[in-house]
Amino acid sequence: MPNNVFEHDHFAHCESGVMSLLLRHHGLELSEAMVFGLSGALMFAYIPFVKLGGLPLIAYRSMPRAIIKGLRKNLGIGMKMVNFSNPSLGKKALDEVLDAHQVVGAQTSVFWLPYFPEEMRFHFNAHNLIIFGRDNNDYLISDPVFEHPMRCPSNDLQKARFVKGMMAPKGLLYYPEKIPEQLDYAKIIPKVIRKNARAMLKTPVPVAGLGAMRLLARHLGRLDKPGWLTQLRQRPQTMKISDCGVARSQRPQYPDNSRYARLFMGHIVRMQEEIGTGGAGFRFIYASFLQEAGELLGCDALLQTSQQLTLVGDQWREFALMLVKAIRIKDDRAVDFAALRRKLESIAEAEAEVYRDLLKLTRNNKIS
C-alpha cells in the first residue's frame, strides 16, 4: 500500500491551502496568503438570479478552481488537471497516481465526507483536499481546513468525488507537473495586484466587484418590502396539478417575507465567515498577502495598504455582527435595514479606496 510522506498543515481556505501544500511538496515554498494573492482570486460576487438553496449566490472570491488556474497562469506552473466521466475509471486513476507515489489534489462535495462535523455538512460541491495515501479501504487525506490529517473510507470518497449538481467535481484530480525554477516576483506581484484591483473596481456589470457590493447593499436596504427579489423560493413544493390552471397570482402564496429576510442575512454571514475564508471574507488573507509582498519587494506603501485592508476587514466583521443581531430581533419593524445598507455602502467605499491606492501604486505594472 502506498504511503507517501506528506507534511500536513492547517490553513484557512481549502483551495489555497491545497495549492500551498502541493507546491511545498514539490519544492516551492509559497504561503497560503501568497497563493491566494498571486492567483488574483479576491472578488466579490452577488448574483440575485442564481439561487442556491433558494438564496442568491454571494461569494467573496472568484469561481472555484480560479486559484488553481490563476496560479497556473500567473506563475507559469504546469498543472495536470483531469476530470472523469466514469466514476470507476476515476477511482482507478486515483489509485494509480497514489501507487506512483504522487500526492494529488481533488475536488469533492462536503456533504459526503464523514470526517466533517455533522453541522457543517451542506451540499457544497467545490471543496478541495489532498489525497496522499491508501491504507486498506481508507484513503489518507490532508484537508487543509482541519488541524490534522484525516481518513476517509473509499466508498464515501468515491461518492464525494462524483456527486452531480452545481459545480460538480466530476472526480477532478490535479497536481503540479512543472514548477518554474525562478520566479521574478518584482514582475509578477505588481501585475497580479493591478489586475485584481481593476477587476474589483471596473467590472462593468454589477454582479461582481464593488458594483455587486453596492447592489447587495441596495437590496439589503429594501428587504422589508416584498418584491420579486425578496421572495422565498423554497415552498410550496407540493404544487397540485389542479394549481396549474390557476393564475400565478391566485395560487397559495407563502408571504413569509420576514423569514426570507432573516435567511438572506444569515446567508451573507455564512458566505463571509463559515466557509473558511480566514475571516472577513478573505479580506484578511489578502491583507496578509499585501504585507508579505510589501516585505518581499521592500515597498512601504504596500504595507500601508495592507493595514488599510485590515481595517476594511474589521468593518466586515462588524457588519456580520450587525446582521446576526438583526436576525435575532423578533419584530420585523424593529430591524433597521437602512442602517445595514449604509454600513455595507461605507465598507464598499473603504474597500474601493484600497483598490484605487493599489492601482496608483502599480501603474505600468511596476511598483512605484
Binding site: 492547517h10 490553513f11 438553496g53 461518492k159 396539478i241 475571516g279 488573507i285
Partner: protein, 139 residues
C-alpha cells in the same frame, strides 16, 4: 483584527475542530491563529440548519396526512431542496414535484427510485417510508 481578539467561543458547529483565522500579531505581522469559533458564525450556521429541520418537520406532517410522498420528507432530511435534488438525480424539477404526490410515487419504477436512493444515499426501503423518530433528521 488583532490576534488576541480572535474569538474562541468553542462553538458547537465545529464539533471540536479548529479553524485557521488570519490576524495581526503584536509585532504588526500577520499570523494564522487557531480559532475555536465565533458565535456570529455559529448563529448563521444554526439558522440554516434550523430552516432545513423546520422544512423536514413540515414535510413529515404532509406525508403523515397523506398529502405528500416520503420522498418529499427525505429531500429536506438530507439537506436538499428541489433544485439540488434535480441536479443530483438529473431529473426535471417538475418531474420531482410530480413524484411528491403519493399516488404517483407509489407507481414509480425501480429505475427512477434508484436515482433517488443514489442521490440521497439511502436504501429503497428507507425511501419508501418515514423514519421512526420525530425530528431525527439529517443524520
Amino acid at each position: 483584527m488583532k490576534s488576541s481578539k480572535v474569538p474562541q467561543h468553542n462553538i458547537s458547529t465545529y464539533g471540536d475542530n479548529k479553524k485557521a483565522i488570519y490576524a495581526v500579531g503584536t509585532d504588526g505581522r500577520y499570523t494564522r491563529v487557531c480559532s475555536s469559533g465565533w458565535k456570529v458564525e455559529e448563529a448563521a450556521t444554526k439558522q440554516a440548519l434550523d430552516e432545513l429541520t423546520r422544512l423536514a418537520i413540515l414535510a413529515r406532517k404532509d406525508v403523515l396526512a397523506g398529502k405528500a410522498s416520503p420522498l418529499y420528507f427525505h429531500m429536506y432530511d438530507r439537506r436538499m431542496d428541489v433544485q439540488t435534488l434535480a441536479q443530483a438525480t438529473g431529473l426535471f424539477k417538475w418531474r420531482i414535484q410530480r413524484h411528491f404526490q403519493p399516488r404517483v410515487f407509489a407507481r414509480l419504477p425501480e429505475k427512477i427510485l434508484a436515482r433517488y436512493t443514489d442521490a440521497l444515499g439511502i436504501s429503497v426501503a428507507q425511501l419508501c417510508q418515514l423514519p421512526q423518530e420525530e425530528g431525527a433528521g439529517a443524520q
